[in-house]
């Protein structure tokens, strides 16, 4: 379980998160929506410790992410993360991209690491691309590679940071299908997304971020179909039309 309690985060004088409370249970899919600059991506960066927080607490499976004693490298093994930019490792083949972390971080043998990588790549539909270099693949394929690369670490949670925002429109579908598949596998996921339709369809909970706070949170029917806050309504009318 991921527990986020009263998290405040600033960049210099700019307070980006102003007291966030959120709970994500095992198996849940939580979508985070909101305008740009609302702090939703920052929250993901805080959850896996890439960013510090100034106040509050984030606890992942009873481990305080920002406590001094916490080994964040270790913690990140159970928090898979996929970014807006896919960041494929250009010097490695598709198979090596996915096998790298299991081999180095989990100290698996080359054979084992390759086996895990093959499975995950096949799972996301890249079974015929093992020996390809990422530079020869489309954005959608590279993003699926990024997902498989994270899955190869067998994480308990997956954090998705606007994973379709940098894609050409015709490639968005294949990546969303991959996320749907993960949900069906029972993966616990936090998706920061601009795909409102997708959020409504797959989420157990939707959180609407506005100026560093969660303005509204609840089931997708409630937040997206029947928002009670004016700001939520305004935001939705902008993105849905």
């Amino acid at each position: 379980m991921i527990e986020i309690c009263d998290v405040h985060k600033s960049f210099g004088d700019l307070e980006v998160l102003k007291g966030i409370d959120l709970e994500v249970k095992k198996g849940e899919v939580v979508s985070v929506i909101g305008g740009s600059g609302s702090g939703k991506s920052t929250l993901l960066y805080c959850i896996n410790g890439i960013e510090d927080i100034q106040q509050g607490k984030i606890v992942v499976d009873e481990v305080d992410v920002h406590a001094k004693a916490t080994n964040q490298d270790r913690l990140r093994q159970k928090l898979g993360m996929v970014f807006q930019q896919w960041n494929s490792f250009p010097h490695l083949t598709v198979l090596e991209n996915a096998a790298l972390a299991p081999r180095i971080v989990l100290k698996k043998s080359k054979k084992e690491a390759t086996e895990v990588a093959r499975q995950e790549l096949t799972h996301v539909g890249l079974g015929d691309k093992f020996d390809e270099y990422p530079s020869r693949m489309s954005g959608g394929q590279q993003q699926r590679l990024a997902i498989a690369r994270a899955l190869a670490m067998k994480p308990d949670y997956m954090l998705f940071d606007e994973v379709t925002s940098a894609l050409d429109p015709e490639l968005v579908g294949e990546v969303l299908d991959t996320l749907r598949m993960l949900r069906d596998d029972g993966m616990t996921m936090i998706c920061v997304t601009h795909e409102i339709g997708f959020a409504r369809e797959v989420s157990d909970k939707v959180a609407f971020f506005h100026q560093g706070i969660i303005e509204e949170i609840g089931s997708p029917e409630q937040v997206i179909s029947n928002p009670c806050q004016e700001t939520t309504r305004k935001f939705l009318s902008k993105v849905l039309h």
Partner: protein, 217 residues
């Protein structure tokens, strides 16, 4: 009465070969040490704040701006004046390695900096530690990016090694100077020596082309 000058003959081959081998020897040492030190300094420069960078940059600028021949003479004279003169090979290797390091460090710094922050964050998000990210992501990606520049520095070190002759190291240029003063056949000998430098450098250049070709595919 026989002439004081004797023409070039096959008996001079071992002498020339010594020169060739010594050129290869000192160049290899300088390239290897210069690369290792350059990697470390280049990494430090890519990771350091502005203040440390200005300090390091100053030192490197001196090494890069003062002509190598002056550095060689100053260093070996200074060491000689302390009463513990070094073997010309050792003195030459030290100066040539540092000189090489100064150029290599800038090349490698560029390489490390070419790997953008998001790529590093992506690697860290997979659980890689800082040093694992350096070793498996930044180093290989960065070094590929700067390989052509590295090769350029390495090739010029081979040619610059000729200057070590001024402190008495018996490399290719110095052997040829001695042969010229004995044989008075400067044209043939210098053409030959130029050809030998080409023979030493060309394989490295070919190797570079092959590696680059591999990286593109």
């Amino acid at each position: 009465m026989g002439s004081f000058f004797t023409p070039l003959s096959w008996h001079d081959a071992p002498f020339i070969l010594t020169g060739i081998l010594n050129t290869i020897y000192i160049s290899t040492v300088a390239i290897i040490i210069g690369t290792i030190l350059g990697l470390m300094v280049g990494f430090l420069r890519a990771e350091s704040n502005r203040f440390t960078n200005v300090l390091m940059g100053g030192g490197l600028d001196v090494l890069r701006s003062v002509p190598l021949i002056i550095q060689l003479i100053l260093f070996s004279t200074y060491i000689g004046a302390t009463g513990h003169p070094l073997d010309p090979f050792v003195a030459g290797s030290i100066v040539l390695s540092l000189y090489t390091m100064a150029f290599m460090s800038e090349v490698f710094r560029g390489g490390f900096e070419s790997v953008q922050q998001p790529m590093q964050v992506a690697a860290r998000s997979l659980g890689l530690t800082y040093w694992q990210t350096v070793r498996y992501i930044r180093l290989p990606i960065g070094m590929r990016a700067v390989f052509p520049s590295w090769l350029g520095v390495a090739l010029s070190v081979i040619k610059d090694s000729a200057l070590v002759s001024v402190i008495g190291y018996m490399e290719l240029l110095r052997t040829s100077e001695q042969l010229i003063s004995r044989t008075q056949q400067p044209l043939q000998i210098l053409i030959g020596v130029g050809f030998f430098y080409f023979l030493i450098s060309y394989p490295l250049s070919l190797y570079g082309k092959r590696v680059e070709g591999k990286m593109v595919s």
